[in-house]
């Protein structure tokens, strides 16, 4: 039997030591009528060789972003992952360990998390960051719950240009809370969340204002004005970042008055992996530290006076506070945070900034080329980072099918999320899209329209 090392002799000796007649005898505390009388109906077990063959066969029935030229982003980004990231992730002292509850033999995880917390603070311009959340959407929901803990106000104001699935998750998480969620419609010309529109919703009952930067359409929001509006009304300003590579190009949300910055860290060294596991990051200002959910690693000294790291401020957490905890989160995404840490260290300051500029250059190249094609126009005029929306002169399904037949995934049609954006496609360009590939898309579109 794979992974079970007992020999028959071991089993006999162990049963004798216990004083049990048989292995079945050990289960006598399970009432007879509750015991399963037949084997589970599952495929027969496989040897490792058979398993690998089977799994390779199954995986081959999927097409990948390497087989196709993909221009799909929308919250999951195809970036190059340096080889060192995977090599470190495969250090089994990291991946086969548990949450570092025993700090003397978990300093590796603890120091790496401390470094991760520092990197997230540096990128977001916040004072403190936690050890990670599940992923971007639930981190957003947790940020809203935290804002409610801070000011106990009843209204949550959310931009319609926040990722639609994030908005769905927020609704689920807030189901039991006595709150009203108001959505601010983005501007149809700029693609941004306009301060005027926010002003119509935000007031002294507003707990928080939630916007995404760059927003779901790839457009850059005017964080400064939005932050001022939040502050004027005493609301917590939550900035959500689904594409953190943008922080290599843009000033941090902290510089524009964000109180909480959360987001999706997949972009930073985590594989696309059909949507998960990803990495929720969560950062805030020092004064709100005790309202923050999730684990925190802090610096301290050991009894010899040497520097060491330890989980701290756990009195906020469920295993101590039970029903009064700041969140129910327990397991987080430690290994994904490690991937992000190694990735960011490998790129370094200049590498990250250069890569962000490269994404911008590639995106602007495609944008410019598309403007010359009849039947295609840019849907919004706000500046963007590595994503933008185009509007076609027809519904895009047929066109995307043609492109897909030529080996291209030409972006994400937006109708499923915004029924009125029924001729619109969200396109993403990263460093993975070569000029040659981008030209194929441009030719493909020109040919099909």
């Amino acid at each position: 039997m794979p992974y079970v090392p007992h020999t028959e002799k071991d089993i006999r000796e162990m049963l004798r030591a216990i004083g049990a007649k048989s292995v079945e005898d050990l289960f006598r505390v399970v009432p007879e009528e509750l015991r399963l009388k037949r084997p589970l109906v599952l495929p027969a077990g496989l040897s490792e060789q058979e398993l690998v063959a089977e799994m390779k066969k199954l995986s081959a029935t999927n097409a990948t972003v390497d087989d196709h030229i993909s221009f799909i982003g929308a919250g999951a980004y195809n970036h190059y992952i340096p080889s060192v990231v995977n090599h470190i992730l495969l250090r089994s002292e990291f991946y086969t360990s548990y949450t570092p509850y025993q700090p003397e033999i978990s300093q590796g995880t603890l120091q790496a998390v401390f470094e991760y917390q520092t990197l997230i603070c540096q990128l977001t311009g916040m004072d403190v960051a936690n050890a990670s959340m599940y992923e971007g959407a639930s981190a957003t929901a947790e940020a809203i719950l935290m804002a409610r803990r801070i000011n106990n106000r009843k209204k949550v104001v959310v931009s319609s240009a926040l990722h639609p699935e994030y908005r769905d998750v927020v609704k689920t998480y807030l189901k039991a809370q006595p709150v009203v969620i108001e959505e601010i419609m983005h501007c149809n010309e700029t693609g941004k969340t306009l301060p005027d529109a926010v002003e119509r919703h935000i007031d002294e009952e507003t707990s928080c204002l939630v916007v995404q930067q760059p927003n779901f359409f790839g457009c850059l929001e005017d964080l400064k004005s939005l932050g001022e509006l939040a502050r004027k009304n005493g609301a917590i300003f939550i900035v959500v970042i689904a594409e953190p590579l943008s922080l290599g190009l843009l000033k941090s949300p902290g510089e524009f008055g964000a109180d909480i910055v959360v987001g999706e860290g997949q972009s930073l060294g985590n594989s696309l992996s059909f949507g998960g596991p990803y990495l929720g990051f969560f950062a805030t200002r020092e004064k709100y530290l005790r309202q923050m959910p999730g684990r925190l690693v802090g610096e301290t000294t050991d009894k010899d006076g040497n520097r060491g790291f330890i989980l701290t401020l756990s009195t906020r957490e469920q295993h101590i506070r039970r029903e009064k905890a700041t969140s129910n989160i327990c397991t987080n995404e430690g290994l994904c945070a490690l991937a992000a840490t190694v990735y960011l260290c490998a790129l370094g300051k200049n590498g990250l900034m250069k890569l962000a500029r490269l994404n911008l250059s590639k995106c602007e190249y495609l944008k410019k080329a598309l403007q010359g094609i009849k039947g295609v126009k840019l849907a919004f005029n706000a500046p963007t980072f590595n994503e933008f929306v185009i509007e076609l002169d027809r519904e895009p399904e047929e066109l995307l099918k043609i492109l897909s037949g030529k080996g291209m995934w030409g972006g994400l049609p937006l109708k499923r999320f915004y029924p009125y954006l029924d001729r619109h496609i969200l396109l993403c360009v990263t460093e993975m899209n070569t000029k040659a590939e981008t030209d194929v898309l441009i030719d493909g579109l020109r040919g099909a329209l």
């Binding site: 599952l42 949450t99 025993q102 506070r321 995404e333 490998a346």
Partner: protein
């Protein structure tokens, strides 16, 4: 007794990465642009652009690799040695599953790529749902929850939604005193109120105790079976009947399901909703604190409320269905921790029905073996056959002057990871040991021997432990009193 495996080894000192940074270094080169370089100011207002990331590290590739390899050497993992952390099921993580999850056909899929190109991924998820339903005895499974606690939230929201749909909302949930801390926290997040109930003198819940608190304003009970004392809740069926009679639901925290694989099904015990921890029972790595996965199984009655999207099979075609009127909605973006699901699927395929049952049997054998061997030296509050784990206390050692914490730390010197300590709360100063099935008799004997030796050691030696680790006991109070949660330039190294 053979030689203890815990000795001092070649362990390097390593500063924070920020402290070994020097300007101009980098590990990875970014490609040169093949479309020319734009000036960002042409497109984005200059005041929005970043000119620096203050303090951000600049390190060479060798520097990055050595840094993290050295950090990894300060960690103890299942691959290092025995990790009997109770209720965490630290079983061996098969290496082949790491390879499988990294196959491009799994790792390089975009969640929004057209469904026709993701058929294998959807098939894997669909089949994993079926396997988990069969193993737990449920009618339907959702793979969306990414951790046990999110599974709990999912379950509570579904139960709440059920009563809301009936037009008769209920407010309370019964939670035994042996429950994991996430249970009451999840109940609160779902807008319900936790009603604690004490377990009986035998360490398990009694039907009378439940009868005493169950009423028509109670949405149900959250029970863990086997419970955190490692005991089978043998009145579970009767308790379920009491809860059902008043129209409530039985939620089972499946954290300890490893003991029941192929032996008994929670669904047959009257459980209506259960979450399963793939990172415990189904061998996926804990990753130093995640990623996990907490799929939830439900009985027919609750199926309409499971999160969207659902995976649907029609003929031999798989697709995602977002159209479920009564669904509680989404718990996360996309579909779940797919990479973790792949590993769990591979584990189930490798084990098969027979293998899973064997795992449960050997896990229970190992726990009972430790229990029987240690009860001569440690106080065993509930002396009865256990399931996957056993719980001792430090009562006998406390009289000599050392505690659970000291025992835990001293075990490190012998080369073992400590058990879970001070949980469950119903046992004073608990020592909770879960060996799992992937450990052999030799390893258990080594551990038992170490535990016995510690029990008889000089209290001062035990209280000063660990002696052999790179880092000694840490000042927890200092960390909390004056939190230093990130590196600051100029801070001392």
């Amino acid at each position: 007794m053979s030689t203890a495996i815990g000795i001092t080894g070649l362990i390097m000192n390593e500063p924070l990465i920020f402290e070994s940074s020097s300007e101009g270094k980098r590990a990875v080169e970014t490609p040169t642009s093949d479309v020319g370089d734009v000036r960002p100011e042409e497109f984005i207002a200059a005041e929005l652009l970043r000119t620096d990331i203050a303090g951000f590290p600049e390190v060479s590739e060798v520097g990055v690799v050595r840094h993290f390899v050295r950090l990894s050497q300060w960690n103890y993992g299942v691959d290092t040695g025995f990790y009997p952390l109770g209720s965490c099921t630290m079983k061996y993580n098969p290496k082949v599953n790491e390879d499988i999850a990294r196959l491009p056909g799994f790792a390089r899929l975009h969640p929004y790529q057209p469904e026709e190109f993701s058929q294998g991924a959807l098939q894997l998820m669909y089949e994993l749902e079926e396997y988990l339903a069969e193993i737990s005895g449920m009618d339907a499974v959702t793979l969306q929850p990414v951790a046990g606690a999110q599974g709990e939230l999912c379950g509570m929201l579904m139960i709440s939604a059920y009563f809301a749909r009936q037009g008769r909302p209920r407010r309370k949930v019964i939670i035994p005193d042996t429950a994991h801390g996430t249970n009451p926290a999840s109940v609160t997040l779902a807008g319900l109120t936790a009603v604690p109930v004490k377990s009986g003198s035998e360490g398990i819940l009694t039907p009378d105790a439940v009868k005493g608190v169950m009423d028509e304003d109670t949405a149900g009970i959250m029970i863990t079976n086997p419970n955190t004392l490692g005991l089978f809740e043998r009145h579970i069926k009767e308790i379920a009947d009491i809860v059902h009679e008043k129209g409530g639901f039985v939620y089972c925290d499946g954290a300890n399901m490893n003991a029941l694989l192929g032996v008994a099904k929670l669904g047959d015990m009257g459980v209506d909703v259960v979450h399963m921890n793939l990172h415990k029972t189904f061998s996926t790595p804990h990753g130093g604190g995640g990623p996990g996965s907490g799929p939830v199984g439900v009985k027919k009655e609750l199926e309409p409320f499971v999160p969207v999207p659902r995976i649907v099979k029609k003929d031999s075609n798989y697709s995602l269905d977002y159209n479920k009127r009564d669904s509680i909605g989404r718990l996360r973006a996309f579909y779940g921790n797919f990479g973790v699901l792949v590993r769990a699927y591979a584990y189930i395929r490798a084990m098969g029905s027979e293998g899973l049952k064997k795992a449960a049997q050997m896990a229970v054998l190992n726990a009972n073996y430790i229990k029987e061997n240690l009860k001569s030296h440690y106080h065993l509050p509930f002396d009865q056959p256990c399931m996957h784990e056993c719980v001792f206390s430090d009562k006998l050692q406390f009289e000599k002057g050392f505690s659970t914490m000291d025992i835990a730390k001293r075990l490190m010197d012998y080369g073992f990871h400590p058990p879970t300590t001070y949980f469950p709360l119903v046992v004073h100063d608990a020592i909770m040991i879960e060996p799992t099935e992937t450990e052999d008799k030799g390893t258990l004997d080594g551990f038992i021997d170490a535990m016995k030796r510690i029990a008889e050691e000089d209290p001062e030696l035990v209280k000063g432990a660990p002696h052999n680790t790179k880092t000694k006991r840490l000042d927890e109070a200092k960390a909390a009193r004056n939190p230093v949660l990130k590196w600051r330039p100029g801070a001392k190294g």
